[in-house]
């Protein structure tokens, strides 16, 4: 179950010391977020967030259908329920400058960039027109044009790779940062902490984002993690933590503003935990017997990120017809992507041997 943000108990009234100042630095970003939790979005922003999140939702639902029809094979991890995280964070990036890297649950992050759903869906169906020419699949999609570096299937590996992308930003002094997403499962991998240590030591411009969707495959956070408050886990490396409601796109966006400003100021990394919930199984083959139907329904009914922004839009005076029109357009876009993905040809047999090496020797 997604946690509500719990403000820390106030400290005693002892005189401030150097240690207190250091501790304050670790808490300062969270305190800034507590002051103002939600991003002040204008009408256009809200509509844009709504559109993007809805596109991800409908795209993933369609992917689930295509999987059921046997058009998508292998592993397919859906992002349904977690849409606010990718949309809230990536909307705050400087496009063409900042880099993003994530694990295997990557469709949403691609779509949040505005990458054509057709080439993403065609990759899922393993077609030549797919963004990886059909050679990567669901877990291995990249867009160097958008500085999106994948799409990695080994749990936690993207965190060290993200550290390298951040090193490149620092080395080139380009002012960019890297956003490295990983899950609550990956958060227990050793290399994540190796990377946090080096990132903090070298003050790398990186935001570590734990997408805590409460389950690492079938294992609930409390069954796998001695410290379930992941945002605290940077403390050992002097990395400030933030605990964010990942079911609210405006809170995620606000947290991104604070974290990015800190990182761009040359202050080193930030560890942000976004509490969220995946409605579907870990992958398409997961029957999700480790949680109750009621638990999932409770999230859908009371915490759904799309419903939440819809409410914000209604309050901002956007009428129902406008939202319906958006919904129709998105359904059409997704249907078109699915048709394209189904009808476009498989890769040529000769593609088997291309892209193994860049050069000829």
């Amino acid at each position: 179950m997604a946690k509500a943000a719990t403000p820390k108990a106030a400290k005693g009234a002892a005189a401030p010391s150097a240690d207190d100042a250091a501790d304050f630095a670790l808490r300062s970003l969270q305190q800034a977020l507590e002051k103002q939790k939600r991003f002040k979005a204008d009408g256009d922003d809200l509509l844009h967030f709504y559109e993007q999140m809805l596109l991800i939702r409908r795209f993933e639902e369609k992917a689930g259908q295509l999987y059921g029809l046997g058009l998508i094979g292998g592993f397919c991890h859906l992002y349904i329920g977690q849409e606010a995280v990718a949309v809230g964070l990536q909307s705050a990036l400087t496009e063409g400058l900042d880099s993003v890297i994530t694990g295997y649950r990557d469709h949403g992050h691609m779509l949040a960039y505005g990458i054509d759903p057709k080439v993403i869906m065609a990759e899922l169906t393993g077609r030549a027109a797919g963004i990886s020419k059909g050679k990567g699949g669901s877990m291995h999609m990249f867009s160097t044009e958008h500085k999106f570096y994948g799409g990695h299937g080994i749990v936690g590996a993207q965190v060290s790779l993200g550290g390298g992308l951040a090193l490149a930003h620092q080395y080139n002094d380009d002012g960019g940062l890297c956003l490295a997403y990983f899950g609550d499962g990956a958060a227990n991998q050793g290399q994540v902490y190796e990377t946090m240590n080096m990132a903090s030591l070298w003050k790398l411009p990186i935001v570590f984002v734990v997408e805590n969707n409460q389950y690492a495959m079938g294992t609930a956070v409390k069954r796998s993690s001695a410290e379930t408050e992941f945002y605290r886990r940077g403390t050992a490396f002097r990395i400030p933590g933030m605990e964010v409601n990942g079911m609210d796109v405006l809170e995620v966006r606000q947290a991104a503003e604070i974290a990015f400003a800190h990182v761009r100021g040359g202050n080193g990394p930030v560890l942000m935990e976004c509490n969220t919930y995946r409605y579907r199984g870990h992958s398409m083959s997961d029957p999700a017997k480790y949680r109750t139907r009621e638990e999932v329904q409770e999230q859908r009914d009371h915490h759904d990120p799309i419903e939440r922004v819809k409410k914000d839009l209604t309050e901002a005076g956007v009428n129902e017809d406008k939202l319906k029109e958006i919904d129709r357009a998105i359904r059409a876009t997704v249907a078109e992507a699915a048709d394209f993905a189904e009808q476009s040809p498989e890769p040529q047999a000769s593609e088997l041997y291309t892209d193994v090496l860049v050069e000829e020797y």
Partner: protein, 463 residues
């Protein structure tokens, strides 16, 4: 009772050193911990401390003497009331130093034979098409050649940087990165914590982000902690992305058995990495190749695993004085021409093969020695061409036999050179056991000249 002070071994592979400076003189009294002298190797200068107390009776090796063999008596420490002024000057023979890293009383191991008897190194590479005739040659150790190769590329391309454990301030655990920090600064020569998985990932990610990292592993044994990034992240991403993602990273460091460091620190990973599509795997033997192929590795758009060998670091070879001499990846080299049998090898095995060839020549068998230099892509044309000429092949590989590069050569010869074979191809590899520590067992486990000679005689039906 007088105590003999012997030239100490400062590392497991040290053979000899320079007695740079005496810090005591005859007649001085010393106690345990007194620094007696400074000893210099090609890697470092170290202080030599007294373990015992007494009076420096006689100094037998003058300061400034080079090439003092480990175990040589360099001074005599007299006990109370003793006169040792008549002690003899050091004999040339080296005594056993029991308990020292270097057990000089035993038969030298194969690796050491390679070091001591690397006579082929001095021969000009007459047949090397990569070096124009009349080129001036200089002597360089493999260690220096690797460093020079990296430094030249760092001067040429701002994106190239080195990262790894002890590469900067310590000047490299094996001194391969010596002087780089001074020239290029801490931004481009980065000391990492001891976290192979993490920093291999950071290096790989930096390559994806457009830089040209050289990731040093203190040895490739430790790279097993990082092998996921080498294989899953670096080697496969270009393919998985349909050619979008580049990963021009070089993973380098010493590979294979060193000397008396036990099973966990003694392994040849050549066959492991050479089995992975998407990687380039280079394993040079001499200094020229170390430098020229290091430059090629750094310039390659593909991820490269560059396997060095600790036992060859200190060996000197002739290196052509050429501006920007980059060697081709994927091309083997004929180290010695012969007509009777082909010995295929790479890395330290080439030295063994060359010694075997010398001995065979004395027995009337002319062996051709092929240095593969690159393990992936493998230059099978060179192997097959030599097979067509000699009709017999022996593979000499310092590594395990099972699923080895030797196995691969056997398969290539049988599959594509069957009609030229006059005898089965024989693999001469290490014994199929974890490498033992005991000096005698270690020697028994590693390949040596005699085994290669025996195999060559067998395929020539000479016995």
């Amino acid at each position: 009772m007088a105590i003999e002070l012997k030239m100490p071994a400062l590392s497991p592979t040290m053979e000899e050193g320079t007695l740079a400076k005496w810090l005591v003189k005859e007649g001085d009294s010393v106690e345990s911990g007194t620094v007696l002298a400074e000893i210099e190797t090609d890697k470092a200068t170290m202080e030599f401390e007294s373990i015992d107390e007494g009076t420096v009776g006689k100094i037998l090796v003058e300061e400034g003497t080079e090439g003092v063999k480990v175990g040589t008596v360099i001074a005599i420490l007299a006990g109370e009331g003793e006169d040792v002024s008549a002690a003899a000057a050091p004999a040339d023979t080296v005594e056993d130093v029991a308990g020292e890293g270097k057990d000089v009383g035993r038969e030298p191991s194969e690796a050491e034979i390679t070091q001591q008897a690397d006579k082929p190194e001095a021969k000009p590479r007459a047949a090397d098409p990569d070096i124009p005739a009349g080129t001036n040659m200089v002597k360089l150790t493999v260690r220096e050649a690797l460093r020079d190769g990296m430094a030249e590329e760092m001067r040429r391309d701002e994106r190239v940087f080195v990262m790894g454990e002890e590469v900067a301030e310590y000047q490299g655990a094996y001194k391969v990165t010596q002087g780089l920090l001074e020239e290029f600064g801490p931004k481009r020569v980065i000391d990492t914590p001891i976290t192979e998985y993490g920093f291999a990932g950071i290096g790989t990610g930096a390559a994806m982000g457009g830089l040209r990292p050289i990731v040093e592993f203190m040895t490739f044994n430790f790279a097993m902690q990082a092998i996921d990034h080498i294989i899953n992240s670096a080697a496969k991403t270009n393919y998985m992305s349909g050619g979008q993602m580049r990963c021009p990273v070089v993973f380098r460091g010493p590979n294979g058995a060193a000397s008396r460091v036990g099973a966990q620190h003694s392994q040849n990973y050549g066959p492991w990495y050479a089995s992975v599509p998407g990687l380039i795997v280079i394993a040079p033997y001499d200094a020229q190749d170390a430098k020229g192929l290091m430059k090629a590795a750094i310039r390659s758009e593909d991820p490269v695993v560059f396997l060095e060998n600790e036992l060859i670091y200190g060996q000197s070879f002739e290196v052509a004085q050429l501006d920007d001499h980059v060697l081709p990846i994927g091309k083997a080299r004929t180290m010695r021409e012969g007509s009777d049998v082909t010995i295929v090898s790479y890395s330290i095995g080439v030295g063994v093969a060359l010694q075997a060839a010398e001995e065979l020549a004395g027995q009337g068998i002319e062996a051709e020695v092929i240095d593969l230099r690159t393990l992936r892509p493998l230059d099978k044309e060179a192997v097959l061409a030599s097979l067509a000429k000699t009709n017999r092949v022996v593979v000499a590989e310092e590594g395990w036999p099972t699923c080895s590069i030797a196995s691969e050569i056997v398969a290539i010869c049988m599959g594509e050179g069957f009609d030229h074979l006059d005898a089965p191809v024989i693999r001469v590899c290490n014994e199929d056991v974890p490498l033992p520590y005991a000096a005698n067992l270690e020697k028994l486990a590693l390949i040596d000249k005699d085994a290669v000679v025996k195999a060559c005689r067998k395929v020539c039906y000479a016995d």
